[in-house]
Assembly symmetry: C3
Homo-oligomer: 478 residues x 3
C-alpha cells in the first residue's frame, strides 16, 4: 500500500472502502459500484419528517440535525454511561437537560471512538465528508471547528432541505405516517409546485392497539377526519379504507405494520366487533389486542388486494424495554430490543389466504437473523406475493447486509427481495446509507464473480437491480 | 485475469469455480480437489425412483427429465408469478395444464436468470455442460436448440440410466422407500445381473402418522405384505421388524424418519396399543399422533441396535404450508417450510437410552442452522452413536456448506459428520451435486491450510474423508 | 509459498497462524498482533484449582496434567467410541479404569487426528511447542518420546506452577469458588508472600438450587462458616452478604452465576422465605427452584450495587444431558448441552431495576449465537450496566470469535464487551488460549483496516483494548 499517508487527524474516505481486500475482488467490486453509484435514490421506507420538505426552512444547527434525532447515536453514548440529559435529549418528566448545543456536540465528539466499527461511524463520516465538506476527523479537539463549519453551511441556500433532496438525487422519498395523520405537509409539498416526489406511507398501528392508553385518542382523530363517530367495527373498516384511499391520492403506494409477534388470524366480523366494543369501553386486554391485531393484518392484506397498496410488515421488536428510561425519555429512544420471531406458523393464515393472489404484495422485515435461511427465504422462494425487505435496523450494516445476502440468495434468489431502503429519521444520512449499501452489494457480487458463481454480465444486471430496480418494482413506483 | 474472454452466450464452467479467490487459497483448494474429483460417488440418501434403473428405458425428453420432477426449479418460477399450470406441473383437481414440453422448456429457459446465485443454477450448468455437452448459456434465445440437443442425446444408448450410472461412477445409490413398498424395482435390479449397487432405505413415516387420512391404507398395504391383518400394536412392531429385515435383504443399511418436532419418548406397550387401537377406529388426534411418533422413534432406535440399520432423522419441516396450493398440486411441490427446531431436550430420552450403545448409529439432519453450533455439534461431540448429516435441502449450497463446516467442526470435528449426500430426485444432477460439494469442501479446507489451522498432510486426509470415507463409514457400506 | 518444507512429523507453529491469508490483511494482522502478544495476561474468569498455586508442587505427569482434567479432550475421544474407562477417567460407580498414565497418553495420541480443525488442537499444539518445547507432531509413533520429554520437564523447578505463572506473564488469575468455599488455598497464597495475584470469584449457584439433593449440604457448610444455623431467608441473605465481603477481602472483584433459563423476577421477602422453608423441609419442587433462582439473581444484582462486585451470568447450558454417563462419570465431564436461550424478556426485570445504575455491572455470556445480534448486542448497546462476555465454551474458537465480533460490534461497538477470558481448568493452556484470542482479534481488526472501516490508528487502540484494557476495566481490576 504505497498510497500517501494522511495526517493523523485528516478525515479520509478511501475510494475502495467496504470492498473485499482481495485485489481481484476489489477491482470487480469497484467496477460494479461504478455502475450504480450515480443511480437515483429510491427511498421507499423511512421516517423523515415531511414538514422539513414542506417548509424548506434551513436546518437549525449541527446538534439538532445530527445528534438529537438519531437514537443510533445517543443510545451508544448512553450505554457507556453518558446521561442523556447531558446530551440534551428532551425529557417527559421535566428533568432539566443541557440546552447548549455546542456543549452537546463537544461531548458527542469526545465519545466518537465508541462508534469504531459501527455503521453509524461510516454514515456520519460520509455525511461529514460528502454532505458538509469536513476534512478533519471528529474528536474532542476538532469538535468546535467542525461545529462552526457545518453551522455556516446550514445557513446557505444549498443546504436547504429541497436543495439537498435534489443534490442527493432522490427519485422518491416515502415517509411513514399514522392513519390519522391529515398529511398536511404532504399536501403542501404537492401544492408548492416543487417537483420532488415525497409520498406518505399508511401506518395504522396505533388504531389497532386496542388495549393501549392512546387508542381512544387515535380513534377520535380518525372520527374527526371522517366527520362522524366511529362506533362500530364496520365503520372502523370503512374509515380505514377511506384513509388508505386518501393516502393513495397523495401518492402512497404502501402501508406499514409493526408486530411484536406476527400472528395472523381472521376473526368472524361479529367477534371483531365485540372486541372493538370492548375497546371502546376501555376494557380490552392485551390478549384482546393481540387477537385484534392478528385479525387486522388479515384485513389489511384483503384491502391491499383491492387497492393495490403494498403491505409491509416489521416484526419482532419488543418496544420500550427499559421502563424507567421510557418514563423519562419517551418511546423511540433506543430501548427497543428484538426477540426471537416465528414466521412460518404465524403467517400461515395470511399467506394461504392472499399469498397466491397476483394482486397482493407483502414485504417482510425481521430483526431475527436466524429466520433468514430458515423461514424467510423458503417462504419468499415459494409464495408469489412475498418479497423480503432489506436487513433492518440493527442489521442495516456492512456485516448485516453480507449475512442477509449469503443466507437468503441461495434459496430465494435476489428477485424475491426488495432492494435497499434507508429507514432513517436523519435526512442528511440518506445518501450515506445508500452509498454504503451499494458498496456492500458490489463487494458481495464481486465475491460471486471471483468464485465464478455468476459471471460479470449477470453481476452487472444484479447490481443495478439491488441498487434501483428491485425497490422500484417491489413498491410499485414504476 | 488475462484469460480469453468467452463470447456472451457461451456456457463456461470455470475450472476454479467455487474456490476462494485468494490465489494461495485457490491453488491449495485446486490441489485438494484434484485428489477427490474422481473418487467414486457414495449416494447414501436420495429420492431417485428405482424404476428408472430397473427398466433402464431412455429418459423421455428434457422437460420431463429436468423441470417437472425438480421442485427446486419450479417453486422459484412460481414465486415470481409463473403459474405452475403453464409449467406443466400435474394437478390433483383436474385443472388443465400445459402439455407441450417444448413450451414449458421455453418458459423455464426465459426465467433462468431467477436462479442467479443459487445452487440450482450451479447444478443445472454442470448437468448441461458435463452430462449433455451443452456449450451455450440457457436463455430464451437458446432454449429450442438446447432442447433438441439434449433430446437427441437422450435417445442414444450412452444416455440410458444404467450407462449414466456407470459414467457417473456411482459406487452405491440408496433410494427412499415406504415401509409398505414391495421393492419390486429393487428386486428386478438385483435379478437383472447388472452390477450397479442400488439399495433401498426403510422409511416408515406413513405408518406412524396415526391421525392422517392415508394411515389406514398404509396399514392395509403392510397387512397384505404380511399376509394377515395388523390388529394390534405388538403385531405392528413384528411387521415393522420383518419389513426392516426384508429391506436389509435387498441391501438396505439405513432407515429414514421425518419429524416436525423431533420429540422422543417411550410409552408403556399398553399405552402404545391403546393409541394404535384408537387410530384403527379412526379416532386418533394429532396429539395422539405426536406421542405415537415420539414413541416409535424410540422403537426404531431399539430395532437399530438389534439389526444394525443406521437411523436417519430429518426434523423441522412444516409440510404443505400452502393449503390451496396443496389442494391443486399435491405434496412435495416446494411448499414445505422450515420451523425452529429443538434437539437438546427432544432427543434426550433417545440419546440417554441408545446414544451410548456401540451398536447404534443415528444420523441427524436439520433445517435450522441456529442449531449447528448450539445443539448439534455439542451433541455429536459427546454421544458415540451420533453423526451429523450434511447441510440439508435449503442449506445444500455453497454458503450453506461453508456455514455448516464453520459452525460444527470446532466442536465436533469432521469425524462426527457423515460426509455428503445429494438427497435428490433428479438423477442427472447427482454428479453435479457431488462435484459442487467436493469443491466447497476443498475451499473450506484450503482456508484452514492457508491460516495454518491444519497442514496440507491433514487436509488431504480430510478431503478424502469428506468426499468418500465418512459417508461410506457412517452408512456402514464398507 | 517458498518457505522450507518441514519434515512430515515436525511440529510446526507457523508465525502467521490464524491470520487471514490475504497478504495485505495478514501483514496488518501481524503488526497488530506484535503490539499485543507480550501484554500481560488478564484472566478474570476460569476454573484453575487454586491449590496448585498454593502448594506449588510439581505437576505429576503429562496425562494427569493434559488429558484427565480437560473434558474438551476426552469428550471428543468418547464421541468416537473410546470408552472413558480406557482413558483413566475416574468413575463414581466403582467401574475399574486404566491406571497406567502412559497407556492413556498413547491412546490419546493415536486419536489426536480427531481434533483437526478444533481449538483443542490449536491450544495443545501451542502448549506442547511453547510451554514444553516439543518439536514433533503428537501421533501414536511419537507418543512415548513426547511423554518422557514432558515428564522430565515437569520435574524441574522452571515447571513448578508459580514459575509457570510468572513465565506466562499472568497479571491476575481469578478462580471460581462455591459460596461455601473457605478459600483456604487463597489464604495460603496471600500468606506465602508470593506476589502472584490469584483471586477468588463468588459462585453461589449451589446455594440457590433449592430442589437439588446437595442443597442441604451446601446450607450446612454455609451455616458452619457462619457459626450458626441458617434457618430463614433473612439469615440466608445476611450470610451471602457476609460471604461476598469475605471473598472481596481476598481480592474477589466478581461473582458468577449459572442459569439454564436466565429468568429474573423479584419475589416479596415473605414469599422468598416460604420457598426457603419449603426447601429446608425437603419439599421444594423444580418450579420452586426456578422461582427462587430468578429472585436470587435480582438479589445478587442488588448486592452488587452495594458492594461493587461485578456480576457474571452464564445462561443456556442444560447440565448432565446423558443420565447413564452422569451416573458413571459425574458432572463436568463434557455432557452439558446448550439450549436456545431468551434474554430480552428474561432479563427485563433485572435490567429495569439495576441496568441504569452506574454502580452496577453485569457481564453476560451465552451459548446461543443466534442471540448475539438479536438480543445481546442491542441490550449492551443500550444499558449502561451491561457488558458482553467473550464467546463462551463451544464458541471460544477461531470461527466462534470471528462470528462474535462480526455480529456484536456493529450494534454494540467493542467498548460494550469485556475482552477475553480463558475459562479454563487446564492451567498450562492459559497462554495458548490468550495467544489464539489475540491472533484472532488481530485478524478481525486487520480485515476492518483492509476494508477501510477503521484506520490503523484506531485498530491499534482497539487491539490493545481487546487484549488487555477491556478485561481489566470490565472486571474492575484497575
Amino acid at each position: 500500500m504505497s498510497e500517501p499517508i494522511p495526517a493523523p487527524d485528516d478525515l479520509v474516505l478511501h475510494e475502495d472502502r467496504y470492498f473485499d481486500p482481495d485485489p481481484a475482488v476489489r477491482q470487480t467490486a469497484r467496477s460494479l459500484y461504478d455502475e450504480t453509484r450515480d443511480l437515483p435514490i429510491i427511498s421507499p421506507h423511512g421516517h423523515v419528517d415531511p414538514v422539513i420538505l414542506a417548509d424548506d426552512s434551513p436546518f437549525p444547527e449541527p446538534t439538532a440535525l445530527i445528534v438529537l434525532p438519531d437514537h443510533y447515536v445517543f443510545r451508544m453514548l448512553y450505554s457507556q454511561g453518558v446521561p442523556l440529559e447531558r446530551l440534551g435529549i428532551p425529557t417527559c418528566d421535566g428533568t432539566p437537560v443541557e440546552r447548549d448545543p455546542r456543549k452537546v456536540w463537544q461531548l458527542f465528539s469526545e465519545q466518537f471512538h465508541l462508534f469504531r466499527g459501527t455503521p453509524t461511524a461510516a454514515w456520519l463520516s460520509y455525511e461529514l465528508y460528502h454532505v458538509f465538506g469536513v476534512r478533519k476527523r471528529l474528536t474532542g479537539a476538532t469538535a468546535a471547528v467542525i461545529y462552526d463549519e457545518i453551522r455556516e453551511k446550514l445557513e446557505t441556500a444549498e443546504f436547504r432541505p429541497r436543495a439537498l433532496f435534489e443534490r442527493f438525487n432522490i427519485e422518491v422519498l416515502a415517509t411513514t405516517d399514522a392513519a390519522s395523520d391529515p398529511l398536511e405537509s404532504h399536501g403542501r409539498i404537492r401544492e408548492s409546485g416543487w417537483q420532488g416526489r415525497v409520498i406518505p406511507t399508511f401506518r395504522p398501528d396505533a388504531a389497532f392497539r386496542v388495549a393501549a392508553p392512546d387508542w381512544h385518542a387515535e380513534i377520535d382523530r380518525l372520527s374527526t377526519l371522517y366527520g362522524s363517530s366511529i362506533s362500530d367495527y364496520a365503520t372502523f373498516i370503512r374509515v380505514l379504507e377511506s384513509r388508505r384511499a386518501f393516502f393513495g391520492s397523495l401518492g402512497a403506494t404502501a402501508t406499514d405494520h409493526d408486530s411484536e409477534v406476527p400472528l395472523t388470524q381472521r376473526l368472524p366480523d361479529e367477534e371483531a366487533d365485540r372486541l372493538f366494543q370492548r375497546a371502546r369501553r376501555g376494557e380490552a386486554t392485551s390478549a384482546d389486542q393481540q387477537r385484534f391485531q392478528a385479525h387486522m393484518l388479515m384485513e389489511m392484506a384483503r384491502c391491499s388486494t383491492e387497492d393495490g397498496l403494498v403491505m409491509q410488515l416489521h416484526a419482532g421488536a419488543l418496544r420500550d424495554h427499559n421502563q424507567p428510561f421510557l418514563e423519562r425519555f419517551g418511546p423511540n429512544t433506543g430501548a427497543d430490543i428484538p426477540v426471537a420471531t416465528e414466521y412460518t406458523r404465524n403467517l400461515l393464515n395470511l399467506l394461504c389466504a392472499y399469498g397466491n393472489d397476483p394482486r397482493f404484495r407483502l414485504i417482510l422485515f425481521t430483526l431475527d437473523e436466524a429466520t433468514y435461511s430458515r423461514e424467510l427465504a423458503p417462504l419468499a422462494g415459494h409464495y408469489p406475493a412475498l418479497r423480503l425487505g432489506p436487513p433492518w435496523w440493527f442489521h442495516d450494516s456492512i456485516e448485516g447486509m453480507l449475512r442477509y445476502r449469503q443466507r437468503t440468495t441461495e434459496t430465494a434468489g435476489i428477485y424475491n427481495t426488495a432492494g435497499f431502503n434507508d429507514d432513517t429519521r436523519a435526512f442528511c444520512s440518506i445518501p450515506a446509507r445508500h452509498d454504503l449499501a451499494r458498496r456492500v452489494d458490489a463487494t458481495w457480487l464481486a465475491r460471486l464473480v471471483a468464485r465464478h458463481i455468476v459471471d460479470m454480465q449477470d453481476a452487472r444486471d444484479m447490481a443495478r437491480a439491488l441498487a434501483y430496480d428491485l425497490a422500484r418494482d417491489a413498491y410499485r413506483f414504476a
